[in-house]
Symmetry: D2
Subunit: 269 residues, 4 copies
């Protein structure tokens, strides 16, 4: 009964973008909407330590993987806290000020900071010329060896985000159980680029060697800020993980098959 | 000797973008610059029926495939017209007015018209949400069957352009000797998209089902115009082909290996 | 009515592999079976100049694209010869004797010769070590420049075959209207390999630099012969094209969508 | 000084395949050879808990990443045990007897068991028809949901092996620091197959729905056994990890760039 009110409050939050009302204390948060709604709420709720349950009112429902009837069917398990939850790595994305020493911003206050559930993307933007970046993974450990890379942009995704934008540029599926991030490229100039999966404890540094006027950092496809030539973006694991209720009627593998059509085979019609 | 003057005149054209001076009559045009310069001159010169010879002052030199020393070495063959030329298919790209009947613009005057040597690209642009298009190849012949397709954009490339942007999104190499175009996708939402090669006589129609404010048609990476939701773009073979001098020291295959690093293998260092 | 008898005769041919009975004269041949049956009949029938119509008794029915009800529905057009036909490029595949000069077998009698409708494939075979080949396209014209390439094998496909094995290794779809072949690689050692489409008039030469005991040339997935280290295989256009009835209810584009699931998008279930 | 003798002993092992001599106790093992030699020794040595140092006498030297001069330069660090080591996940690969219950072999003695450092591969083999498999990842947890998948074969690779065969079929690079396996496919029939990375604690079950006479399980490209229709293969983490000395002059990232040519860009020559 209490939970019914929580649902109502949630709905209110979603429509107010300013989010100036402090959400009430709760044990569980329902997110009513599509995957986009879920992402925006996940970024807000991750630090409250409250598990989320996504009810699909959108199209695909990859994160919001409960249909209304699933909520009804599993209500007792949900309410009693026995419904299975998974934990998802999220990202801290920092845009560093222009004069930050290369690959070394330990004591530098970021200009902007974001939390991401799916991905942080740098995209070329108008006038759509190729941009160029230095990518360094764990510069401290890796002796500052970097990959110089040109193209339309770069995607740093969590395992959760691996089935989103990352997949559309040829990146691999990474099961949410893997403690890793994946870097993939949008239209890389090199024909020898391959996506790379590495530990979620690594810090990733991207330095813009060449940017367009419209070059933009995009968080989960939803938030964005302009990135300048010479600027650095640092990406690392967010201190907390998101807790996510999992529909007992589905598994990760059959969601991949049924919703993403993973490995669908030729058929007669 | 005469040709030395022509070289000088060409240089002048390149620097003036307005291009209000009618170029003098000539039998051969040298283009001094990189591949970008070559593309911009090719679009201007294709209808004059004069062959182009690209001298590489840029980085890669895929189209501009003569180095200065190659010009010297083959000067006699160039001057006498016995140096091998290839012919390249180019594209007419028409942006149709908003009220054009779907896939049927025979009697409609395009709003804008472009010529492309490499490719016509529709790119999502700010705020970088996924766009959606209907793609119809030869709608008259194919009973108006279309592919609905979402992603960051679409590339319609010539064989010449197949080794440019098309290659960076996973498209195939198409030898310039093939009378074909290729359609590839930038970050397609579907994991089952594959590039497709079809005859250069086909007309391609793209209808924007969903566009962003910043959605843009880009020609050869150099010219651009805004595209609105509901608008159609038609792409077909340009009536004339570009004549292109080919460096006798190179072949298409070894340029692919040496410049693009096609099929480069792992090595000790 | 006459044609009903022809159908019966065809069925007989299919079951006898020795094929010692000369098929009767006819204006049209029905092939009853799946795509595999169609391929085997196409190789036999291409030089008789008789069009084929494939009735799908198999799984996918890409070549055999008439269902029984389609034959009934379009019987008049089929019988009167007004049903649309397409023409398909086929390949001659020659295994050269061991002492054939490299890339030069004009006056050499091949050891074995095959006709292929879909593809000629060289596959590593037991004990499954990487094989290595030199690939030369038009060695006469291209100054004998070749690509040295290691992996599990190579596929030389026609446009018809582009949607078969070629597609499964990442090759492009090539519309049957394009006068081209495509070369793609099975598990190439290089991460910078890309499939290449080139004119159907080119001759392709493959020299085995390193082979396994079990290295095999496979034609249309159906016929095969052993290939030795040092041996050359030459592939060129077959002099005749196959005539193929096309189901008026389908187009190439909607067959791609409906049977191959080309560009299928994520869905709710 | 003592270690010089160990080197000599190692050399002896390598040449004797029977391996009937018990290797002497030691603190460190040098492997002199290429990556192939390293793999074969790693499988033998992993359970002795002795770290390996690969000295490259082969071609690429990805695992054997010390050149002779690197050994000299870092001798003191190597001998004193202060040279950095990494730990690599390895695999247990079990071929189950024919009557094993599907996805449930807890109490069943495997017919054959192998240890793999890079990968376990099931390959179609003669007569090279498409094989078909059910792939289940963690069948106990995932409610026995499986992916049915046709093609030339399947690769289950460790992070170490991700840059080997897996990479050649389009799989991602997985940094050795990630506790994961990757499944990729050789020539999948589906155009919607994508490689998948999942936790190294998962058990993978492959059931052969359709096999060829020559269908073979291949371990690290070196050991092999025949696989029958209906047979199951189980793959899980090996209880011990391999300890591997890492060349202090290299990092994983620059080895990728310099040896694999990862992200190499077009160049002038």
């Amino acid at each position: 009964r209490e939970r019914a009110e929580v649902v109502a409050v949630m709905d209110t939050w979603e429509t107010r973008d300013g989010f100036d009302v402090e959400p009430p204390e709760c044990d569980l948060t329902f997110v009513l909407g599509g995957d986009g709604t879920f992402l925006s709420q996940a970024r807000v709720m991750v630090d409250r330590g409250v598990p989320l349950l996504g009810v699909n009112f959108g199209k695909v429902g990859f994160l919001a993987d409960f249909e209304i009837e699933d909520v009804k069917a599993h209500w007792d398990a949900i309410a009693s806290g026995t419904c299975v939850q998974t934990q998802r790595v999220m990202l801290d994305v920092d845009v560093m000020p222009m004069d930050t020493p290369k690959w070394d911003g330990k004591d530098v206050e970021p200009e902007y900071s974001y939390t991401a559930m799916n991905d942080a993307v740098i995209t070329a933007g108008p006038p759509f010329r190729m941009i160029e970046m230095d990518l360094a993974i764990e510069p401290d450990v890796s002796q500052r060896s970097a990959l110089t890379f040109g193209g339309d942009g770069i995607i740093v995704a969590t395992a959760s985000g691996s089935t989103a934008y990352n997949l559309s540029v040829g990146g691999p599926i990474v099961s949410p159980g893997v403690d890793a991030m994946v870097v993939s490229a949008i239209a890389p100039q090199s024909i020898a680029f391959r996506p790379i999966v590495f530990g979620a404890d690594c810090d990733v540094w991207i330095t813009m060697n060449r940017a367009n006027e419209g070059t933009t950092l995009v968080i989960d496809g939803q938030q964005s800020t302009s990135i300048q030539e010479g600027q650095q973006v640092r990406i690392q694991r967010h201190p907390n993980r998101l807790q996510l209720f999992q529909n007992p009627n589905r598994t990760y593998w059959n969601t991949l098959s049924h919703k993403m059509h993973w490995a669908v085979r030729p058929s007669r019609t």
